[in-house]
Amino acid sequence: MTTTQTKAAVRPQADVPKKPVRRRREGAAWVFLSPWVLGACVLTLLPMAVSLYLSFTDYDLFNAPNWVGLRNYTQMFTEDPRYWRSVGATLTYVVIAVPLQLGLALAVALALKTMRRGRAFYRSAFYAPSLLGASMSIALVWRAIFNDGGTVDNLFGTGGWVNKPGWALFAVALLTVWQFGAPMVIFLAGLQQIPGELYEAAEVDGASRWRQFLSITVPMLSPVIFFNLVLQTIQAFQVFTPAFAVSAGKGGPADSTLFYTLYLYDRGFVASHMGYASAMAWVLLIAIGAVTAVLFRTSRSWVFYASEGDR
């Protein structure tokens, strides 16, 4: 308390000429921010508040919502087997797609790093799927490729992946893995930050390529790996478009690609249970928050920040 008081007492003298300038800058900042602030309030915060309210109601799109307390939440956890199927499908997908995607992104980034000629071209070429991938059209093409009578069926005679419960999820995961461009570019930037001396020194000491990768590349890159891991995990939990298109909007076959968001959509827009869907959305938000928190917690033991050594 005393320190703040003294600070406050000192302040007027030192700040008098500066204050208006700072306020002016703040004002300008707010004006420039206003489109975003307005957008965030009207398009994000307000709908979020409404959805929180709706999650405690039986809103069905057509009639005024009635307060039902925690019924949506208890129903979700205790009476809805499909809810748990959707949780299972989502977790399976996250566990398969994220490591595969990051692994591929890292492998390609490493290959590109050592490449002398044509790096810019390949970097763009590998990044292209990320630009296309989020679109509905690519997802529909994907469905056609993996459908019975599609390219994959004709080449390998495996039948249609998208119509087999054990395989459909892989078709969706492959679409995600294929879009490894964004993490790859970040990995590439991270790799270029690693000082060359470290490798030179290791080489002098006779460390193998693999040894160098494990002892230099991975620790030095770990903040970037962590960043990509968090980002891709969050994105994977929210996957919707590819699953929607590849499973023809049904999360099928036999609920095998019924991802959380797809089931949420199904409850809200197909079955008109907006209250229930809102409750699901909030549980997802909390779950993603929890997973991210756990990732941050574990990061202490494996993420190495070069600057930590200076402290």
């Binding site: 000429p17 204050k19 208006p20 300038v21 002016r24 004002g27 300008a28 004006v31 206003s34 489109p35 307005l38 069905d60 799109l61 057509f62 009639n63 009476e79 087997p81 459908n147 019975d148 039948g159 249609g160 119509n163 087999k164 419960p165 023809a248 909007g249 049904k250 099928g252 076959p253 036999a254 609920d255 199904d266 827009f269 197909v270 079955a271 008109s272 249970h273 907006m274």
Partner: protein, 431 residues
């Protein structure tokens, strides 16, 4: 003071920026489709259907625009499943199209949700004098006319004419029973090497026909379930057995059904027959060049017919429309105009306007005539249609298909799936 000087000069700029922002925001909002453009009244009209229906509807709408120069109609259409979801979202957002096509299953929900206008508000714009009174009544909810049936339709066993003939299996005949149908499917599979039919287990419509053949119904008068887990388990055991024998389509084929004929096993050339509604079956013609034949649905073992004439595809007007009169006039045109009737033919079923029905009957050709003759062959032989299904039914249709997926992929037994469905249905129909 330099500070204050800059502040004063800053203010107008901030105000200008804020103003510009308001203009931009205002420009972004207010995208109300049903407003007037260049003095013209603009109506939005949406429906579901196949490309054939789309082409004919567009032709009729063009004629309407020509006859009503002051009105412009913006149309859009999609497959049934997608349409259902889009319309529900639009309706919830208060942005329902001015004129919309509705299914029997939607009326209760849309009317009680306040989405639809009562036609009594525009008594002069629509002439219902020529309509079949019983059929017209199906568009009423709580005594108010919220929707106008455009036509009637009925379920059919539609089959690839050439392939069935070539197989040498005896063709379907009137009054055949479900067990005779099953035998025919087994034989077809044996002779042609392809499943005889699309697995009807996924279709709530087919189940309803089977159920009615036993004197039961999907819903009771009190809008509760009219059948038990036993009934459903028997139906799914029946279809599941046929699937295991290869007499009906595999799970991989069945699961692709999404409300368009293109994605049915018959449309994709994997089976010989399908159960579908009569009018939409015209879509098969583009996929099966040698043509299809419509046969009646199988009856109960004692000969009780299960299929019925269902009011197919209603037209409704949004309660929020700014042009109620013009909207109703469009409906009047689609249903009562002789030229429009000629263009539309039987694309939505046989017209509800009885005078026009008789007038266009001799002129019907191709598939329209097929549908007309098919319905004529059943006229007077079927039992009365059930009342409009309760609100939750629309969602249950999808649930039905999904639960059966679990059976056809052999995840759970027909018995378990049936019990799951009953639980889900009871929750869905909870008031």
């Amino acid at each position: 003071m330099p500070g204050s000087r800059t502040r004063t000069s800053f203010r107008p700029r901030a105000a200008a920026t804020a103003l510009a922002l308001c203009v931009v925001l205002a420009g972004c909002s207010g995208g109300d489709g049903s407003s007037s453009a260049g003095g013209k009244v603009v109506l939005r009209y949406t429906w579901w259907g196949n490309p054939d229906r789309a082409a004919r509807t567009q032709e009729a709408v063009d004629l309407f625009e020509k006859k009503n120069p002051g009105i412009e109609v913006q149309t859009s259409f999609s497959g049934y499943d997608a349409y259902k979801q889009k319309l529900a979202t639009q309706a919830a957002g208060g942005d329902a199209p001015d004129v919309m096509q509705l299914d029997y299953r939607m009326i209760d929900q849309y009317a009680s949700g306040g989405v639809l206008m009562d036609f009594a508000e525009q008594p002069d714009a629509l002439d219902t004098g020529e309509f079949d009174a019983g059929l017209l009544a199906t568009g009423r909810v709580d005594g108010k006319q919220y929707a106008i049936p455009q036509a009637r339709g009925t379920e059919t066993v539609v089959y690839d004419t050439k392939r069935w003939k070539a197989s040498g299996v005896e063709p379907p005949r009137e009054g055949w029973t479900w067990s005779q149908w099953a035998d025919a499917m087994r034989e077809l599979a044996k002779k042609t090497g392809k499943p005889g039919a699309t697995d009807p287990g996924q279709s709530e419509d087919a189940f309803e026909v089977w159920l009615r053949g036993q004197g039961k119904a999907l819903y009771t008068k009190d809008r509760e379930l009219g059948f038990t887990a036993d009934d459903l388990a028997r139906w799914w055991t029946f279809t599941d057995k046929l699937r295991r024998e290869g007499a009906v389509s595999s799970a991989e084929q069945t699961t692709q059904i999404d409300g368009t004929v293109e994605n049915t096993p018959l449309g994709r050339g994997y089976t010989i027959s399908d159960t579908n509604w009569d009018a939409p079956s015209s879509g098969f013609l583009a996929l099966i060049p040698d043509g299809v034949t419509l046969a009646p649905m199988p009856s109960g073992e004692d000969g009780t017919p299960g299929q019925y004439f269902k009011p197919s595809m209603f037209m409704g007007v949004s309660a929020d429309t700014t042009h109620p009169k013009e909207s109703v006039r469009l409906i009047d045109f689609m249903l009562n105009d002789a030229e429009a009737a000629k263009i539309l033919g039987a694309t939505r079923g046989i017209p509800v306007n009885e005078t026009l029905r008789d007038a266009i009957a001799p002129e019907l050709k191709d598939f329209d005539k097929t549908v007309y003759d098919f319905q004529a062959s059943l006229d007077g032989k079927l039992n009365a249609p059930p009342q409009a299904p309760p609100s939750g039914d629309s969602a249950l249709q999808t649930t039905f298909q999904r639960d059966y997926d679990q059976v056809s992929y052999e995840r759970i037994s027909p018995r378990e799936a049936a019990e799951n469905f009953i639980t889900e249905a009871k929750a869905e129909l909870r008031p």
